[in-house]
């Protein structure tokens, strides 16, 4: 079978697992992003878009796979987000699944959310020294993604793309990364890594909380809520929202309706609270004909129910339910 043909614009890249089985990675040069602000993440011209990446692939393994084509700068997996984005992505059959925003990709790259925090604070408040978070020991490098997921491979050089897409005579074999083991060893390592020494846990939690407090303090400083001052927007309206002490607004000054009251209003019971048990405007049993009408309707209702029951049993009967044995 020749692999030169493309499938929906993708070049199938044959990767042999063993003598009998071949895995196919579908490769295409990354084309322009639909939204702006993506260029930084996936530089056009030297980014390769891969579909159907092996679920256990690591960055290193993909680097090794494309070694012949050129040096790989970065590998970005986006399979993990597929559960969430599946609805949107299915709409755009083109598969431009690079629509995920940049922040998320960072998360993917770094595996853990803590470094992100660190970086963000670094950006946000450079003048104050933000506390550093002590990291927990890293998990084993392998992350198992759902099968059939996609990835972006960014080469250092644009010339690598045609080389990577060029049909090769020989099937490439799947390189395996000896540093991140699989199978039993993986699970043993995972088990161990989830149980870090106590002092690291403590240091991590403490430093994280320090950072948290720091950020909270900073937010507070930036916030427009000041104690004792009502919040008035540009148009001169005062913001009335719960949060202050003693049933007052956040800034103070104006009282806010109690929660209970609000709930009652929402339930529609507000009116009932004030006017208790209003008599119906019309007496329903004033005229004799009304009484008879009511009686008659009751009887009709009764009969209707009876007919319904009958129909039900008739249905059961037709399904031969009443054969006792």
């Amino acid at each position: 079978m020749s692999t030169s043909t493309t499938i929906s614009g993708f070049t199938p890249l044959r990767v042999t697992y063993s003598s009998s089985s071949t895995h196919i990675i579908y490769v295409r040069a990354h084309s322009g992003p639909s939204k702006k602000g993506k260029e930084a993440a996936f530089p056009e011209g030297r980014t390769l878009f891969l579909a159907n990446v092996p679920p256990d692939a690591t960055e290193r393994e993909l680097v090794l796979l494309f070694k012949s084509a050129g040096t790989v700068e970065m590998v970005i997996f986006n399979g993990d987000e597929e559960e969430l984005g599946s609805v949107e992505e299915e709409n755009s059959d083109e598969g431009e699944s690079c629509e995920d925003d940049g922040e998320e990709i960072e998360e993917e790259v770094e595996e853990d959310s803590h470094p992100r925090k660190k970086r963000r604070t670094g950006k946000g408040a450079a003048k104050l020294t933000a506390p550093q978070v002590v990291l927990l020991p890293p998990r084993p490098a392998r992350t198992f993604r759902k099968t059939g997921s996609t990835a972006h491979v960014i080469f250092t050089d644009a010339s690598s793309i045609p080389r990577a897409l060029a049909p090769s005579k020989k099937d490439r074999s799947w390189p395996s990364d000896p540093e991140s083991p699989l199978g039993l060893a993986h699970y043993a390592a995972l088990h161990a890594s989830l149980r870090p020494p106590l002092d690291i846990v403590r240091a991590h939690a403490d430093s994280w909380m320090e950072l948290f407090d720091y950020e909270e303090a900073k937010k507070k400083k930036q916030g427009k809520y000041r104690k004792g001052e009502a919040i008035v927007d540009d148009d001169g309206f005062t913001l009335v929202t719960r949060g202050g002490a003693y049933g007052q607004t956040v800034g103070g000054g104006v009282g806010v309706a109690s929660k209970q009251f609000q709930q009652e209003v929402r339930r529609g019971g507000g009116a009932a609270r004030h006017r208790k048990k209003k008599e119906p405007a019309e007496k329903e049993t004033f005229y004799a004909f009304q009484i008879h009408e009511k009686k008659r309707n009751d009887l009709i209702e009764l009969k209707k129910k009876w007919e319904e029951d009958k129909a039900k049993v008739e249905k059961l009967k037709s399904s031969r339910t009443f054969k006792p044995y």
Binding site: S8, S86, R195
Partner: protein
């Protein structure tokens, strides 16, 4: 407007047309209600009954007219008076209107189709002619007479003792003096028997009184003559030339050779073919009222069998009540027929009520059928008519009764069929057959005084004066009573519960495994009574009946209040060819016990005290119990004769009833234990660990058992609470949420100490951590941020761990940071792993109540804005955050709110129902062995399902009454759960009153608000706290798995039914057929820490491989301490199922399974167009298959290769099944 008004007037007129109906109706109904509602006061309508009848008659007159003039009705028209009466009747006289309609639909199906009866009429006419044309046989010596008949191919079924040449009486034949159709057929009261057994048309053939002599009541002489009489008829019928074209067999309906009858079945193909009608004719020789035998001689206190020589006086003879009663029965068929005819005419719904009662009885094995039936009820149609007679006529007030209880008064004659049926059940459920006697009121005075009846047998004398229960063991009546109670309970239940109609009439309740707590299959072939007397054998009529009689009465006596009922089931007697004489009994019987759980497992039975005034009492006790009886001194100082059952384990304890039965059967009936088959041991074995492993535990003196685990938990709670001062926040509560701490884990928990760990094989290294939840006191210092809370939890864990390790030496505590899969940082993932010095492992989590509030806010920050407005508003929370929060909330609600409550409820249930824990354990084991537990059926879901069997699915009030149908042993519980799973229409859901709490308490629990479309589970198990019913079944089982479980349950059920054939093999129910999977992933059992729990464990896996005993196992891995919860196979299984969720389904036995089974998603079989997110590993389809180049197919080989890579080291091979 005017027109409108006019029309209304018209309607008015119709309504007012017959005001009497409307006025009278409610009153009458009230009166009826009083009579029927309180089932205890059934007899209150006695005096009014006449008046009622009149009212009804009048109504019929009044309302009869509108019928003829009634216009074609539409639903918009008010019902006519007649319709109205029907409706009112249905709702007031029946359980509900649909119940009435269902009864109406049922009844015709249970009755013979009389439209097919012409061939029967023709056949009966032919038979009549044949019987009348039989030539007279002159009286002659019985042996001589039988020799003559033998030539015609008929052996006269003489009773033992057989006539001898010295016999001085003669047998003969004359034309029957009367031939009469009797029984239920002529009155059109026949009810279809189970399993397509034919209807019997009873034909009473009266023996002319000239054939009988006065002294024929003595020594079975009447029966010998009767046998000869019947044989002559048989000879005439089978006569090739003169006879009719029919087969004839001797049958003995109740197994008593004295009551032998002739069953005649026309040959198929003849014009009298009765196969369409499915009927056969039974010829019963009877004795006319003019017979010379004096009825007074048949009193139960008379001795009519002379075993002593003629010289002695009759005073020393023992009475022969059974014999006398049997003889008496020969006179009654005609009288019973007349009586039932009278009743049928007297009470309009008599026939329907009787039919309902008999359907009910047939469904429970009190009647003929090809399956096992209850001993004594094989052919006792007269009993059911007798019961109806009693209800309608009441008890005879003239008979002085020893008990001063009020006599049953007659019921009203206007009762509906359902009310009659209920009254009958009420009588059966309340009447104490063993003590009280019943004499049905009749026109004639009862012939025998109550004192004349023997004290140890039930007495139910019908209007003809025979005791209908004489030959029925009391155990069978106990069973009847129990069944009646159950049905009454169901009928009394709320309308919303399970369909009571189905339960009462349509469901077959004869299955041994769900009916009895203990089932034993007894082979009687080597039985021999210890004390056998010719007298009782003669009284019973056969050795078999004597044996059964003794066996059952001694069993009943031995079990005492341990059992509610001791039932004996057997296959009814086969029909005999005309050349065989003795009725053949099946050599095996089944003994079913319904246990009284409170007493059943008592260790000691007390007998008479040492200073008992009656010196014989002790002797009798010793005689009854044999060498088991001992004189013992008890703690309270009393010295009594007693029987003590020593038990080693809790399994042994549940076997006490079985031990008693084997002991008694061996002692009194000479039945060796090997002839008694019982199924508890193999069931127990499925819950036991292999001996190799338990011996290591024992050697290390490891703590084991549920009690020990709970003690360890209490110890942990104590040591944590002791740390209060050293922790930043005090611990308020620690609640367990694991099945280990509620008696329901499959295996009894065992601690693994450091010493036992090293000697255990690697495939037994698994230690189950017990999940607990720690609740700290409330504090304002928690951060108001979800991520922050998780971090503070880490800090709390760290502090707790440090302090715990300081305070209790030897304890090991580790913080587990996060979940191997979930990466969400707002979900509760961290836990504290504690291994106590004794070797118990705990996994603690922290419950912080503010989390829920924060999650709610992040899901919906503006709850006060209605959703349709919110949709239009800009902004709103990030969908990704919402999703993460929803997931976190689901985990939170389940783990911290529902799990502890569930745990407490289940633990309480375990205490209330002793068999519940065992049932859950068996069911879990079964589900696990079929590879669906945990992944597809959560542990909690299986517990709720089991609870359904114990609690019933009815909505109970605030207090949960003890449910009478609750199984008493785990085997029965298991069978019931299997039955439930087999029959359950999961589309309808099931309600289980697990918590038994008031409605008010239930509102507080927040619901999970993950979108309903996202749920895949189809099992709806609602409880009071979870009305939606998807708390434990949200993701699984989906429809595919649910159907699969149903299939497995049906297979298991049919396997359980083998119990009736004695060929039940318990292990096959737990053997999973692996053939149905597309591929099987084999794991290396030696590396699985849980392999020792495997159901079909292979001990060679951990057998020492090397040559030298002292060589340390090379691959003994580096960890030398126990790793709680470390199970790589389970991890691998979860990873694979997650990664390939859309490619295949994976199945695995979490309890030590060594194989995964996978099934490809059938949707991926066809080539499909290529998509980037196809969610499966694809390979371009072969050229010829796809013209279009973009078609791709599933790349199976590559996936299997990836699986092998995933499980490197664990997976030993993958086999594909085609």
């Amino acid at each position: 407007m005017a027109l409108d008004r006019k029309r209304k007037r018209g309607a008015e007129v119709i309504v007012q047309k017959n005001p009497t109906v409307f006025e009278e109706e409610p009153n009458r109904m009230d009166a009826e209600d009083d009579a029927s509602a309180g089932s205890g006061h059934l007899s209150s309508g006695a005096e009014e009954s006449d008046g009622e009848m009149q009212v009804e008659q009048e109504e019929e007159d009044i309302s009869g007219k509108p019928v003829t003039t009634s216009t074609p009705h539409t639903t918009r028209r008010p019902p006519t008076a007649l319709e109205l009466r029907d409706i009112k009747d249905a709702t007031d006289l029946y359980r509900s209107s649909s119940f009435k309609l269902q009864i109406d639909a049922l009844l015709p199906n249970a009755r013979p189709k009389y439209k097919h009866s012409p061939p029967l009429d023709r056949f009966l006419a032919a038979l009549h002619g044949c019987l009348n044309s039989i030539p007279t046989v002159e009286p002659r010596h019985p042996l001589e007479a039988s020799k003559a008949l033998l030539k015609k191919g008929i052996a006269v079924p003489y009773i033992s003792p057989l006539p001898t040449p010295e016999t001085n009486w003669k047998v003969g034949f004359e034309k029957p003096s009367e031939i009469l159709l009797v029984g239920s057929w002529p009155n059109k009261l026949s009810v279809k028997a189970q399993d397509k057994q034919p209807f019997t048309v009873d034909l009473a053939v009266e023996m002319p009184s000239t054939l009988l002599q006065e002294k024929d009541y003595l020594n079975s002489r009447f029966f010998q003559k009767r046998a000869y009489f019947l044989s002559v008829i048989a000879a005439a019928i089978t006569n090739k030339k003169k006879g009719i074209n029919a087969d004839a067999y001797f049958t003995s309906p109740s197994g008593d050779p004295r009551q032998i009858c002739l069953t005649v079945r026309p040959n198929s193909g003849s014009d009298d073919d009765l196969t369409k009608l499915n009927a056969e004719v039974r010829i019963i020789p009877t004795m006319g009222s003019t017979s010379p035998i004096p009825i007074q001689r048949l009193s139960p206190s008379r001795a009519n069998i002379r075993t002593t020589s003629a010289g002695e006086t009759a005073a020393t003879e023992l009475p022969t009540p059974l014999y006398n009663n049997t003889l008496h029965l020969s006179t009654t068929p005609k009288a019973q027929l007349l009586r039932s005819h009278t009743l049928k005419n007297l009470v309009p719904s008599y026939a329907d009520g009787l039919t309902l009662l008999r359907i009910w009885a047939n469904q429970r094995g009190y009647g003929r059928g090809s399956k096992l039936c209850i001993k004594g009820f094989e052919s006792n149609g007269a009993f059911w008519t007798g019961v109806m007679d009693l209800l309608i006529s009441g008890e005879d007030t003239s008979v002085a009764s020893s008990s001063k209880s009020a006599k049953r008064k007659p019921l009203g004659k206007g009762l509906s069929s359902y009310q009659l049926f209920r009254a009958a059940l009420d009588f059966l459920a309340r009447h104490d057959f063993a003590r009280e006697r019943i004499f049905v009121k009749s026109e004639t005075v009862h012939k025998f005084a109550p004192e004349e009846y023997p004290s140890n047998s039930p007495v139910f004398v019908d209007s003809t004066g025979v005791n209908l229960l004489a030959s029925i063991p009391i155990g069978s009546l106990d069973t009847l009573q129990y069944d009646a109670k159950l049905t009454l309970d169901i009928l009394n239940e709320d309308l919303t519960a399970q369909d009571p109609f189905r339960e009462a009439f349509l469901k077959d309740h004869r299955d041994l495994q769900t009916r009895f707590d203990v089932v034993m299959r007894v082979d009687l072939s080597s039985a021999k009574l210890r004390v056998s007397s010719t007298h009782s054998t003669l009284d019973y009529g056969s050795l078999y009946d004597t044996l059964l009689g003794t066996l059952l009465s001694s069993l009943r006596k031995a079990l005492g209040n341990r059992a509610k009922a001791v039932a004996c089931l057997h296959h009814p007697c086969e029909e005999n060819l005309l050349l065989e004489t003795d009725p053949t009994h099946s050599p095996t019987i089944y003994i079913g016990l319904i246990l009284e759980v409170e007493h059943a497992f008592r260790l000691v039975d007390h007998g008479p005290t040492a200073d008992d005034p009656d010196p014989q009492a002790a002797t009798r006790f010793r005689d009854f119990w044999g060498d088991k009886a001992e004189l013992r001194r008890f703690k309270d100082g009393s010295i009594t004769e007693s029987v003590v059952w020593d038990v080693q384990t809790s399994d042994d304890r549940t076997k006490i009833p079985y031990y008693i039965c084997t002991h008694i059967l061996g002692l009194h009936c000479g039945i060796p234990g090997s002839d008694i088959q019982h199924w508890q041991d193999p069931f127990d074995a499925t819950l036991r660990l292999p001996e190799d492993v338990t011996s290591v535990y024992r050697a290390a003196k490891a703590e084991a058992g549920f009690k020990a685990a709970m003690t360890a938990f209490d110890g942990l709670v104590k040591s944590v609470k002791a740390l209060d001062d050293e922790l930043p926040l005090a611990v308020v509560n620690i609640s367990p949420i694991t099945d280990v701490l509620r008696y329901t884990s499959v295996f009894t928990p065992t601690a693994i100490t450091a010493s036992s760990f090293t000697s255990l094989p690697r495939c037994a290294h698994y230690l189950q951590p017990m999940d607990v939840i720690v609740e700290f006191e409330k504090s304002g210092r928690w951060p108001d941020d979800l991520r922050g809370i998780q971090k503070v939890k880490l800090a709390m864990f760290e502090r707790l761990a440090t302090k715990l390790m300081e305070s209790s030496p030897g304890l090991r505590a580790t913080v587990v940071v996060g979940d191997p899969i979930a990466t969400s940082d707002i979900m509760d993932t961290a836990s504290l792993e504690i291994v106590t010095p004794q070797g118990w492992a705990f996994s603690a989590r922290i419950w912080h109540d503010r989390e829920l509030k924060l999650l709610d806010t992040s899901i919906d920050d503006r709850p006060h804005i209605p959703p349709h407005i919110k949709k239009k508003l800009p902004g709103g929370p990030d969908p990704k955050v919402v999703r993460a929060s929803l997931e976190a909330k689901e985990v939170y609600v389940r783990r911290f709110l529902h799990a502890p409550r569930h745990h407490r409820a289940v633990a309480a249930l375990c205490h209330r129902y002793t068999a519940y824990a065992g049932t859950v354990r068996l069911v879990k084991r079964w589900l696990a062995s079929h590879w669906v537990l945990q992944k597809y059926v959560s542990v909690e879901a299986s517990e709720i399902l089991c609870a359904a069997v114990f609690l019933g699915s009815a909505k109970m009030g605030t207090s949960q009454p003890y449910v009478a149908s609750a199984p008493g042993t785990k085997e029965r519980g298991f069978a019931k759960v299997v039955q439930l799973l087999k029959d359950w229409q999961w589309q309808n859901g099931i309600f289980v009153p697990l918590y038994g709490e008031r409605e008010g308490d239930t509102a507080e629990l927040p619901k999970n608000d993950l979108p309903a479309s996202g749920k895949e589970g189809v099992w709806r198990l609602s409880t009071e706290l979870d009305p939606d019913g998807y708390m434990w079944t949200r993701d699984a089982p989906d429809a595919v798995i649910a159907r699969r479980i149903q299939t497995i349950a049906s297979a298991t059920w049919s396997c359980l039914q083998n119990m009736e054939r004695g060929s039940l093999d318990v292990t096959t129910m737990f053997a999973h057929p692996a053939k149905q999977y597309d591929f099987i992933i084999e794991l290396n059992p030696a590396l699985l820490p849980r392999y020792y729990q495997n159901i079909h464990v292979n001990p060679s896996v951990w057998a020492r491989k090397g040559k030298y005993a002292n060589v340390v196992d090379q691959d003994k891995d580096n960890h030398s301490t126990v790793q709680p919860g470390y199970d790589p196979a389970w991890r691998l299984f979860n990873d694979l199922s997650r990664v390939y969720k859309d490619t295949f389904m994976l199945f695995y036995d979490p309890l030590g399974g060594a194989r995964f089974g996978g099934v490809w998603d059938p949707r991926l079989k066809e080539p499909r167009p290529f998509k980037i997110l196809g969610k499966f590993s694809a390979i371009p389809a072969a050229k010829e298959a796809a013209k279009d180049k973009t078609m791709v197919v599933l790349n199976k080989e590559a996936i299997l290769c990836e699986i092998e890579r995933f499980g490197a080291g664990l997976v030993t091979g993958i086999t594909q099944c085609i």
